[in-house]
């Protein structure tokens, strides 16, 4: 079955991203396809390559990255909402240079795109599950 996931909260502060990851991992292990994970609201903060958790704790960002959720073209299907990302300081190279910001923090396993990707995930997936606060 094709399953998509919406994550509404950032890493560590809430359990939402952890639960969503465990759910995605279990779905893949059972042979389902994770069509897309859409990070919305503070969920965009799950995509930061700057994240440095303590040595003895899990790295929520790397966990997502290691799931390697991609489409047929090899593009990441860990999608960060652009509107939510900009107002929270999550930038890829292109958005940074467009806005004259020196530096960027998007982890390469993620990509930034529009809200249409969430609707599309709802249309093209058999199920969409929301994780939040």
């Amino acid at each position: 079955m094709k399953i998509s996931i919406q994550v509404n909260e950032g890493p560590y502060q809430h359990q939402a991203s952890d639960t969503a990851y465990q759910f995605a991992k279990a779905a893949i292990e059972k042979g389902h396809e994770i069509f897309r994970v859409f990070f919305y609201h503070d969920g965009v903060n799950n995509a930061s390559r700057f994240t440095l958790p303590p040595q003895d704790d899990r790295n929520v960002i790397n966990q997502w990255a290691e799931l390697g959720i991609k489409n047929a073209d090899g593009e990441p299907e860990l999608v960060v909402c652009i509107a939510a990302a900009l107002r929270r300081g999550m930038l890829d190279e292109s958005e940074a240079s467009k806005n004259d910001i020196n530096g960027n923090n998007l982890h390469p396993a993620f990509r930034i795109s529009g809200l249409g990707q969430l609707i599309e995930a709802g249309i093209k997936s058999d199920r969409l599950v929301v994780f939040g606060d």
Binding site: N8, Y40, A83, I119, G122, V130
Partner: protein
């Protein structure tokens, strides 16, 4: 693409958190996908569409007027929990007069807001294909 029934479930007030405004942003994008769209306002979500919100005093953007645009995008099924209104001392008269023009009825202006009891809301929810929660 196939048409699916999408429900947007709104349970929080307008300004304490960003969920209300970012939910509205999704709904506006959703309009372009020509899906069947319903919005549900339950619990403190009913405050999102209360008339007379004024955010000047808290330095935030007042987005409540954007709800008036939904009718132009053929989004005209806004279900409001009757029980949630009543608990909060509110009635349908306290809500914004959101309307749409019905193309099947000579573009007559009709109300978009339908106040429904939980038992009806339950039935509407059970018909949805996708539920996005905010």
């Amino acid at each position: 693409m196939a048409t699916k029934k999408f429900m947007y479930l709104n349970r929080r007030s307008s300004f304490g958190t960003i969920y209300a405004i970012e939910s509205l942003e999704v709904v506006l994008i959703a309009a372009a996908f020509e899906q069947d769209v319903s919005l549900a306002f339950i619990d403190d979500g009913v405050y999102q569409i209360v008339e007379g919100q004024n955010a000047d005093g808290i330095g935030m953007k007042n987005f409540s007027k954007t709800f008036h645009a939904l009718g132009d995008y053929d989004i005209n099924k806004l279900y409001v929990s009757a029980e949630s209104l009543e608990e909060r001392g509110l009635s349908a008269d306290d809500l914004m007069p959101l309307v749409y023009e019905d193309e099947d009825d000579d573009w007559a202006e009709k109300p978009s807001i339908k106040v429904v009891f939980n038992v009806e809301l339950s039935k509407i929810m059970s018909e949805q294909d996708v539920c996005l929660s905010f």
